[in-house]
C-alpha cells in the first residue's frame, strides 16, 4: 500500500509529470517519505550523493561556506523541485550544503537503487534523464543569469 501511495505522489510531482506509469512503479521501489525539521541539514558538502530528494512541502537553501564569510545561500528550492543533481554523475558527491529552512516533507530516493535500475534498463534510464535534464539546463541558465549581476548599479 505504501508503494502504491508513493506512485501516486510521484505521478503528481512536477519532476515526474508525463512519465510512464510502469517507470513510476519501478522508481517507487527506491523511494520513501521522509520529514526534516526546520534547521536540519539534508546533506553537507563532500558527503556521498546517495540520495535524491523531491520536495513535497517546504523550502531548502543550498549553501556554500567560506572562511570568514559563513554560509552563503546561492539558491533556494521549494515544493515541486528536486534537490541536487550530483547523484547522477561520478564521483556522486555533494558540492554544497542543503539546509531545511522550514519543516520539510520530501520523497527520498536511494540514489544507488535508482542508478542500478537505470543501468539495468536503459529505456528507464533515458526516461529519467529526460525528466532531469530540463532541471539541469534551467539551473545552469539561472546560474549564468545570476553571474551577470544584472541588478548592479552599472546595469
Amino acid at each position: 500500500m505504501a508503494i502504491e501511495g508513493l506512485e501516486r505522489i510521484l505521478a503528481g510531482h512536477p519532476l515526474f509529470a508525463n512519465m510512464a506509469p510502469e517507470f513510476l512503479d519501478t522508481l517507487a521501489g527506491c523511494a520513501k517519505n521522509v520529514r526534516f525539521a526546520a534547521g536540519d541539514y539534508l546533506f553537507h558538502e563532500g558527503d556521498d550523493a546517495d540520495h535524491i530528494y523531491l520536495i513535497r512541502e517546504g523550502q531548502v537553501s543550498l549553501e556554500i561556506s567560506a572562511p570568514g564569510r559563513g554560509s552563503m545561500v546561492f539558491q533556494t528550492v521549494a515544493s515541486g523541485s528536486v534537490i541536487g543533481l550530483s547523484w547522477i554523475v561520478p564521483p556522486y558527491r555533494w558540492r554544497f550544503d542543503a539546509h531545511a529552512r522550514s519543516d520539510l516533507r520530501v520523497i527520498e530516493f536511494d540514489a544507488r537503487c535508482v542508478r542500478g535500475k537505470c543501468d539495468a534498463d536503459p529505456v528507464l534510464g533515458y526516461a529519467v534523464l529526460k525528466q532531469i535534464m530540463p532541471v539541469l539546463v534551467e539551473r545552469l541558465h539561472d546560474t549564468r543569469v545570476q553571474m551577470l549581476d544584472l541588478y548592479s548599479a552599472g546595469n
Partner: protein
C-alpha cells in the same frame, strides 16, 4: 497625459520644487516635488529632470497616478546628473519637462489576471501600476508581483513590499541573487518564480521592468507558459535626450523610445532585441 505647458517650447523646463526626500537605499532616493501647471501622468511615463549647470536625464514617475498634487521620482545615484539629483534636499529647485512617453496599458488589463515582474530599480516604474491595481482591486483578476534584487540590502521599497505581501488578494514573491542565511526569502532568479505563479496565461497581461536581459528572459518565460506576446509589456531604456522624438538619440529600429515608448509590447520589441547593433 498632456505635457506641462512650458512657455510653449517643449524644450524649456518648468521649475519644480522638492518637497520631500526619502533615502530608500544607500544609492537610491525617492523625492516628491511640486510644479506649477502639473496635470498628472499615466503609469509608465517619465519626466526629463534637470539640475541646472549639470544636465538633464529621463526619470520614470514612481508615485500614484491618483494623486496629482505631487510628482514622485526614484533615482539611483550612478552618473553626474543622477548624483546631483540624488543630492537635492527639501526646498531645492530643479527643471522639469514632461510627462512624456507611452504609458503602461493598465486599462486594457481590467478583467484579466495581471503579472508584474520587476528587477532592481525597475520596481520604481511599475509602482504606479501596483497602486492602480490595489486602488481598484476589484477591476482585475489575480494579481502577482515578482521582484528580484541583488541582495536583501538592495531591495527597493522594502516596507511597501512587506505590506503588499500581507494582502490576501495579491501574490508577491521577492527573490535575491545572493544572501546569507539570515535572509529567509527566496534566492535565485526572478524568472524561476513564473512557473509557480497563479495566473491564467490565456487571460493575463504582464508588465515587466528591469535590466534588459532580465526583461528578455522574463518575456520568453511568459510566452513559454502561454501568454501572448502582445499581452506582455516592457519598459525600454535608451539614451533619451529630448523626450519628444526630435533628436533621435533613443532610436530603436523604426521607433523613438522616448515618444513611441518607453513601453512596448513584446510582439513589437522582440525582433528589435535580436539586433545586437540596436
Amino acid at each position: 497625459m498632456q505635457a506641462i505647458d512650458s512657455h510653449t517650447d517643449p524644450m524649456v523646463p518648468v521649475i519644480a520644487k522638492v518637497t520631500r526626500v526619502t533615502r530608500d537605499l544607500s544609492d537610491v532616493v525617492t523625492f516628491e516635488m511640486e510644479a506649477e501647471g502639473w496635470r498628472g501622468f499615466a503609469p509608465g511615463q517619465f519626466n526629463m529632470l534637470s539640475v541646472f549647470g549639470v544636465g538633464e536625464i529621463p526619470i520614470s514617475i514612481s508615485g500614484p497616478q491618483s494623486d496629482s498634487s505631487k510628482i514622485i521620482h526614484t533615482i539611483r545615484d550612478v552618473g553626474p546628473v543622477s548624483h546631483a539629483l540624488a543630492s537635492l534636499r527639501t526646498g531645492a529647485v530643479l527643471g522639469l519637462r514632461g510627462p512624456y512617453g507611452t504609458p503602461w496599458p493598465v486599462e486594457a488589463a481590467k478583467g484579466r489576471d495581471v503579472v508584474v515582474v520587476a528587477g532592481g530599480l525597475g520596481l520604481a516604474p511599475v509602482r504606479p501600476i501596483l497602486y492602480e491595481l490595489m486602488e481598484n482591486r476589484g477591476d482585475y483578476g489575480k494579481v502577482t508581483l515578482l521582484y528580484g534584487a541583488r541582495s536583501p540590502g538592495d531591495i527597493l521599497f522594502a516596507e511597501e513590499l512587506r505590506q503588499w505581501r500581507s494582502r490576501l488578494d495579491m501574490g508577491v514573491e521577492v527573490t535575491v541573487d545572493r544572501a546569507d542565511p539570515s535572509w529567509h526569502g527566496h534566492v535565485g532568479v526572478v524568472t524561476a518564480h513564473l512557473r509557480g505563479a497563479d495566473f491564467d496565461p490565456k487571460a493575463t497581461t504582464a508588465f515587466i521592468c528591469g535590466p534588459e536581459i532580465m526583461m528578455r528572459f522574463t518575456a520568453n518565460g511568459l510566452v513559454d507558459l502561454g501568454v501572448a506576446p502582445g499581452d506582455i509589456h516592457l519598459s525600454m531604456e535608451r539614451n533619451m535626450q529630448c523626450g519628444i522624438g526630435l533628436c533621435g538619440h533613443c532610436q530603436l529600429g523604426p521607433h523613438f523610445v522616448c515618444k513611441d515608448g518607453p513601453v512596448f509590447d513584446w510582439a513589437v520589441i522582440k525582433p528589435l532585441m535580436r539586433v545586437k547593433e540596436l
